[in-house]
């Protein structure tokens, strides 16, 4: 097989290349200066420059559409959106990392290297047009994250959760790869466009192909924590340094779901005489929503609570994915998925960002008690967190509301009324635990002595900005709907 590529291919990949070059510079500086960690501003500045240049290059690629690198990756406006969300997560994640006590000190150059490469992995994953490239993307992303979690200065949980994530994640990757091998064995190709032509036929006739699809889907569902593959989520989210949680929770989920959305356009699920994918996924969505929201009720640690709530949100995303996967002429489901992830990214970054801001030493874990009286001592921060929590609960007019609205609308449009009903029930349950931090911040007095806050100006700025986006983008969601609708039209037509 001959590998060749032209300038356009490089142009399309330029954002990833910019990130890669940017990731190498800090470690090189460190290596050349005798393994002495430079001032954190140096790697942080370099990372920012490479992120923003990646963003600029991405905008430069606006309008490019097609398959590149011998059809290994696909670039269209959906790729554009996912890359922007990943870059947003990277920017905010790095900012939080720089100012968080558990990550800022000794190995910040390495942290920058790993974060940027994880972002590249996410992009490759979401852009992939070939199952092998998908796997490479997932592995690049996951390997960087395993190490990133373990690099925390926190002593108790981070090593454990890194290991847990590594073992379970590797297992999921293996299952996924196993599935790919079945698919390749049955279809003779790993390229998505080629599979698209024969998928419906294969799904109705070939059992081995179905086994492959089921295994492959299981691996993917693990990555965005759908029941019964969700149990790693609370532990890993809790043990990771909070900035890494913010980056991982948004980035991994965004990349995975965008890939699944592409995968849904294969129409495998509606193939006649095949595995009842839609039924099974519906039940998984319902159970995921319930498990996530009921699990969150009992958590004292805010991070664990948000982790469980993240599981619940994955369930809502899955509702949208099912509605998109059933097909038909309506694209509300696919648009809803894209918008939901857009909303989820902003909300997750902001909520974990607030927690990261509150942490005063590497071992501190923010519990409900720590939030008491926050409305008096840090009014802006309390207001930001309240807005984000209300948005997560789906109170209008925030992005979270319109995300839920679209997903529920998609379900109703596809006559999945009972699925929408379960979604609503989960939403009502979620109100209870989302309101508890607000109660603590506004309605209870601080029991602790006067606390000193570590100033974290850039993170503070980022979190406030994100909270404003939660409301602002909610009210002006029309322009996003339009753009997302056009993007999904490209792959679902």
């Amino acid at each position: 097989m001959q590998i060749s590529f032209g300038w356009v291919d490089l142009l399309v990949a330029s954002p990833a290349i910019a990130l890669f070059v940017g990731s190498l510079v800090p470690v090189l500086i460190k290596a050349l200066s005798g393994n002495k960690e430079p001032n954190a501003f140096v790697p942080y500045g370099i990372a920012m420059v490479s992120c923003f240049s990646a963003l600029a290059l991405l905008f430069g690629n606006w309008g490019i559409q097609g398959e590149f690198f011998s059809k290994a990756i696909v670039f269209d406006s959906l790729s554009m959106i996912v890359s922007m969300l990943i870059l947003l997560a990277t920017l905010v994640g790095l900012t939080l990392l720089k100012e968080n006590p558990s990550t800022q000190k000794l190995q910040f150059s390495e942290i920058v290297f790993l974060t940027l490469n994880a972002a590249i992995g996410m992009m490759v994953f979401a852009w992939s047009n070939d199952l092998i490239v998908t796997f490479i993307g997932i592995e690049l992303m996951s390997l960087c994250l395993y190490v990133l979690i373990a690099l925390s200065e926190e002593e108790r949980l981070s090593k454990e959760s890194a290991f847990k994530y590594f073992v379970l994640g590797s297992f999921a990757s293996a299952v996924l790869l196993y599935g790919i091998s079945f698919i390749f064995g049955a279809g003779g190709t790993t390229s998505l466009p080629e599979l698209k032509q024969m998928a419906v036929n294969l799904a109705s006739t070939n059992r081995l192909f179905l086994i492959g699809v089921i295994l492959f889907m299981s691996g993917l569902l693990f990555k965005f924590s759908i029941f019964p593959f969700h149990s790693w989520t609370p532990d890993v989210y809790q043990g990771s340094p909070t900035p890494v949680t913010a980056f991982m929770a948004s980035g991994v989920k965004v990349a995975t779901v965008f890939f699944v959305l592409r995968w849904m356009s294969l129409d495998i699920f509606t193939a006649p005489r095949s595995f009842p994918f839609v039924d099974v996924l519906q039940w998984l969505a319902v159970i995921t929503i319930l498990v996530g929201n009921v699990g969150a009720l009992r958590q004292k640690s805010i991070k664990r609570m948000l982790a469980y709530s993240g599981v619940g949100h994955s369930g809502y995303v899955l509702i949208g994915l099912i509605a998109a996967g059933i097909g038909g002429q309506n694209l509300v489901g696919a648009t809803g998925v894209v918008y939901y992830l857009f909303a989820y990214t902003i909300m997750t970054l902001a909520s974990f960002g607030v927690l990261s801001l509150l942490e005063r030493n590497a071992n501190q874990e923010i519990v409900l008690e720590d939030l008491k009286g926050l409305a008096r001592s840090r009014p802006v921060l309390a207001a930001s967190l309240s807005v984000v929590l209300l948005s997560l609960a789906g109170i209008p007019p925030t992005v979270g509301f319109f995300g839920k609205f679209l997903v529920l609308a998609a379900a109703i449009k596809q006559d999945l009324n009972w699925l929408a009903l379960w979604g609503v029930l989960g939403s009502v349950i979620s109100v209870y635990y989302y309101l508890r931090p607000i109660v603590a911040m506004y309605m209870e007095e601080s029991v602790l002595e006067e606390r000193t806050w570590i100033p974290k100006p850039v993170s503070q700025f980022a979190v406030t900005l994100l909270a404003l986006m939660v409301v602002g983008f909610g009210i002006s969601s029309e322009s996003f709907f339009n753009q997302f609708f056009k993007s999904v039209l490209e792959i679902f037509s």
Binding site: I395, P396, F405, I412, A420, L421, Y442
Partner: protein, 503 residues
């Protein structure tokens, strides 16, 4: 632009209150809210009472992809509720003058946010916009109960929030269904309430799992919780007892009306067949609510809780009127919404005044208050008369019309509702007797030297309420003439209601 300014100016006022020095907050908030009320009175100039059309309309696309518009308008149904909402805000500020002592700035900001949400709910003519305001009104009220409330405030505020949220989310599903139905029947996605009126939602009599019946009950649940109707009323006593006085006033006077307004604006005209078919159920629940509320109020030992249960009973009358499907019932229902706002609002203010002095609401510990606080007693008696519908007061007109309509609709239930009037008089007057007359209670003896009677500020608060009670009781036409055209149109076209936009 008029309605938009009316709805969103409180947000600007909240900003101003957020910026002034601490000692100026109360006066500034009071003056601004009076100005806002004055501004809302310009509605009288712009509003044409002769037509049933939707007036002062503002319509522009908001999220056209989903058919959602920014759509405001006022007609005879919402007219007085808007005035009521703006009217109450200055009085709640005055009533909280000495009782709210902590976090004054945040309190007033909350109040102005709530004002925007309430006005938006009554003026929004797009279902999603309505939903946004309907839900948004929960947040300031949540804070109001949760921060300035009583001992069990956290429990009460959470219960209030989750109850309401549950109902309204089911309604959201029904709204989504209607939006898609608009696409099928009218050709384009639309969340406009006027388009919803044009839909014919498929109805199968007697079959619960049919489209219209399900949507009807989804809407009903949302609004019945808000009203609150028996048996989903249980959040109300908790919320009222724990809420601070201004919170109780707004909650009783305006936020409960969002529920009955929802029935009038959405449920009855959009689902006429289901509403007629299941009218018996709602008439029954309304009457059960009237009697149950009255009976439970009778055994309360806490004055505020008594007033809270009386709300359940009074809102039962409103529902009885609305589901009577005739002009008397509907007119009476709308009038009773205003009456209840005035009289129960005033009752909560009065209870708050005495509580501020004695820090107790136990009926037992009072007695003989009339001798010590004569002016307070007179005010309380007048408001009580309004509440129990004594002729010459506003309550009489409302309840009389409702009972008239109720009798036409259903003889037996109408008869039981009359029994409720008697019970209502009984529990209120019994409470008055125990609190104001008889032997001097322990609390009264303890505090009588410190002056239990009302001061000048409190007189200023109460006089407008008392004037309104008599004005509305003696000249109901001054008020009803603004709603007459709309209500006539509503009753005459019940089964194929439509609303036109026009001056």
């Amino acid at each position: 632009m008029f309605l938009s300014i009316l709805v969103f100016s409180p947000l600007v006022l909240a900003l101003i209150v957020g910026l002034v020095p601490k000692s100026w907050i109360r006066p500034t908030a009071l003056i601004l809210s009076i100005l806002h009320f004055g501004f809302s009175l310009l509605l009288f100039q712009h509003f044409d009472p002769a037509t049933a059309n939707l007036q002062l309309v503002e319509q522009s696309p908001w999220i056209p992809t989903l058919g959602i518009q920014y759509f405001l308008g006022v007609d005879g149904i919402s007219f007085w509720l808007v005035i009521l909402s703006t009217f109450l805000v200055p009085f709640t500020i005055l009533a909280s003058w000495t009782s709210i002592t902590e976090r004054i700035r945040f309190f007033h900001i909350n109040l102005f946010f709530l004002s925007t949400a309430m006005l938006g709910t009554f003026l929004a003519m797009d279902a999603i916009l309505f939903y946004v305001f309907f839900e948004a009104s929960l947040i300031p009220m949540y804070f109001m109960i949760g921060i300035w409330g009583g001992a069990r405030k956290l429990y009460a505020t959470l219960k209030f929030f989750i109850y309401t949220m549950f109902g309204s989310l089911l309604m959201l599903l029904a709204i989504i269904g209607l939006i898609f139905m608009a696409q099928e029947q009218l050709g384009n996605l639309s969340a406009s309430v006027l388009d919803f009126y044009k839909l014919s939602v498929p109805f199968v009599a007697g079959q619960f799992l049919s489209t219209q019946t399900l949507m009807f009950f989804a809407f009903c649940l949302a609004f019945a919780i808000k009203v609150p109707m028996f048996p989903v009323h249980t959040w109300l006593p908790d919320a009222h007892v724990e809420a601070p006085t201004p919170g109780s006033v707004i909650l009783a006077a305006v936020m409960l009306k969002m529920g009955t307004y929802g029935f009038l604006r959405f449920v009855l005209p959009i689902f006429p067949e289901a509403a007629q078919y299941y009218a018996w159920l709602f008439l029954l629940l309304a009457v059960v609510g009237i009697v149950y509320g009255a009976l439970v109020a009778m055994v309360q030992t806490d004055v505020k809780k008594l007033v809270a249960y009386s709300s359940v009973s009074h809102m039962g009358y409103v529902m009885l009127g609305l589901f009577a499907f005739n002009i008397y019932g509907t007119t009476g229902g709308l009038y009773q919404m205003l009456n209840h706002g005035i009289s129960t609002g005033a009752l909560f203010i009065l209870v708050g005044m005495i509580y501020e002095r004695t820090h107790s609401r136990e009926i037992k510990s009072y007695g003989g208050l009339a001798k010590v606080a004569p002016w307070y007693t007179i005010a309380f008696l007048i408001v009580t008369f309004s509440s129990i519908a004594v002729p010459l007061t506003n309550g009489f007109i409302g309840e009389f019309l409702i009972l008239l309509g109720g009798f036409q609709a259903h003889k037996i239930l109408g008869g039981v509702a009359v029994l409720g009037v008697v019970l209502g008089a009984a529990y209120m007057l019994w409470m008055v007797k125990r609190v104001f007359f008889g032997t001097e209670g322990a609390l009264v003896a303890k505090y009588k030297d410190q002056g239990l009677d009302i001061n000048f500020r409190e007189v200023v608060i109460l006089v407008p309420f008392i004037l309104l009670i008599f004005w509305m009781g003696l000249f109901p036409n001054h008020f009803l003439s603004y709603s007459k055209a709309s209500l006539d149109h509503f009753v005459n076209n019940m089964s194929n209601y439509e609303l036109k936009v026009g001056p």
